[in-house]
Symmetry: C2
Subunit: 246 residues, 2 copies
């Protein structure tokens, strides 16, 4: 299972992803699900959910531009807009589906994939998209300034309560880590280390890229501090007035 | 969608259930999903998830004991043990499946049902069971002293962090309401009012039975207090030390 989340704020973007892949509980490995494109005139983060063979084929197609015919194709390094970049990812998903979908279906496997693509190209707007397995996509806007893929429910309540487009970038990193912690704690098939990438609007260089282990002192402090705060908050709320003899 | 949770503590049991049923967003109604059996020598709570036609058939069977042949059957009012009561619910699910499963399948509908049954019979142990749609069941024990059915994920993190078998009964009610609030807030198809039943171990009478509306002053205070506490807790945690120029 995967958990990836991207937070969209006025100041910039946060990308967070777990690294767990598994083909059953006896076959667990760590693969990055966060791919960073930063050649100088643009920064993009691409996070992936789904069958690793499918997502790797898509990522290879959109970063290396290899086609079946050997021709050099457009890539995330060459598109002129984020919209075009999202369409490129969608087209790549459709190509992979065209190639592998039937064989997967014949083995009883679904064609399961989703992608979060966000970033900025010089002279253009910073944008974030969610690309579906059918290759179509939506843009994430300020009304709901985050997007999740994978095991989304455990980490959603804190985002719904505390996240807004105006949240400072530093605070958004913290919120993302709290959301990730809730997911790690409730679903053992979502696993550390965590990949983090931060992009500050108009910077056109990566603001921060970091692999966060279970032992990372800051992440550990967030995890413990958050647990303590929840337990304290629950203790401080008054008990119900209804129970006789209590 | 449904959310029901039962909390098992040394002092007693808490049952909480939403009341939303829907057959699509344009056909929403409130039906109780918490059935209370309390004839004097026993108290049981039975909470239901699934197709309303299925769950009503099961509840009628185990409370009224009507069989297809018209014979009077054993019911939750007459069983000698909680284990037997759980088996009765399981048998009733199998009967309904036998009767309706094929017709449901022909219409492309799954046979979807689950039940939480808990309580105590005079002279016996207080016990809680989760009965599956196949009619088999498990007992809930102190290691994981709660059981949920339906839309379980949003309300699970707080239980995992703060709930134990030693939690006082009053505090368990509060935890259950926080868990319910997280679910109501993140999934609009889980809806108030909330049905609550509390049973104090060895009492053999219902400790508290209450329908809690959105406007209930205590529930409203819990909802607002919990939101405030989460936001405050997140603000109080320090920002990450990683971001240059922040």
């Amino acid at each position: 299972v995967t958990y990836c989340v991207s937070l969209l704020t006025a100041e910039g973007l946060v990308f967070l992803s777990d690294t767990r892949t598994n083909a059953g509980p006896d076959n667990i490995a760590a693969f990055t699900k966060l791919h960073v494109i930063a050649p100088g005139d643009r920064v993009m983060g691409l996070m992936t959910l789904g069958n690793l063979a499918v997502t790797q084929a898509v990522v290879t197609r959109v970063t290396e531009g290899l086609s079946d015919s050997g021709d050099q194709l457009e890539t995330l390094y060459t598109t002129h807009s984020m919209f075009q970049a999202a369409r490129l990812v969608g087209d790549a998903v459709r190509e992979v589906y065209h190639r592998d979908g039937e064989a997967l279906q014949a083995q009883g496997l679904g064609f399961d994939a989703a992608f979060i693509l966000g970033g900025q190209i010089a002279g253009r707007r910073m944008r974030v998209f969610l690309v579906y397995s059918a290759g179509n996509f939506i843009e994430i806007m300020g009304d709901t300034p985050y997007v999740q893929i994978g095991e989304t429910k455990y980490g959603k309540p804190i985002l719904d309560r505390a996240m807004s487009f105006e949240t400072p970038l530093e605070q958004a990193i913290k919120l993302g880590l709290i959301s990730m912690d809730s997911t790690l704690r409730s679903n053992f098939s979502v696993g550390a280390p965590i990949d983090l990438m931060v992009y500050r609007r108009d910077a056109l260089v990566v603001g921060l890229q970091r692999r966060i282990s279970e032992d990372d002192p800051y992440f550990r402090m967030i995890r413990e501090g958050w647990s303590d705060a929840l337990r304290r908050a629950y203790h401080e709320l008054p008990a119900p007035p209804w129970l006789a003899g209590a």
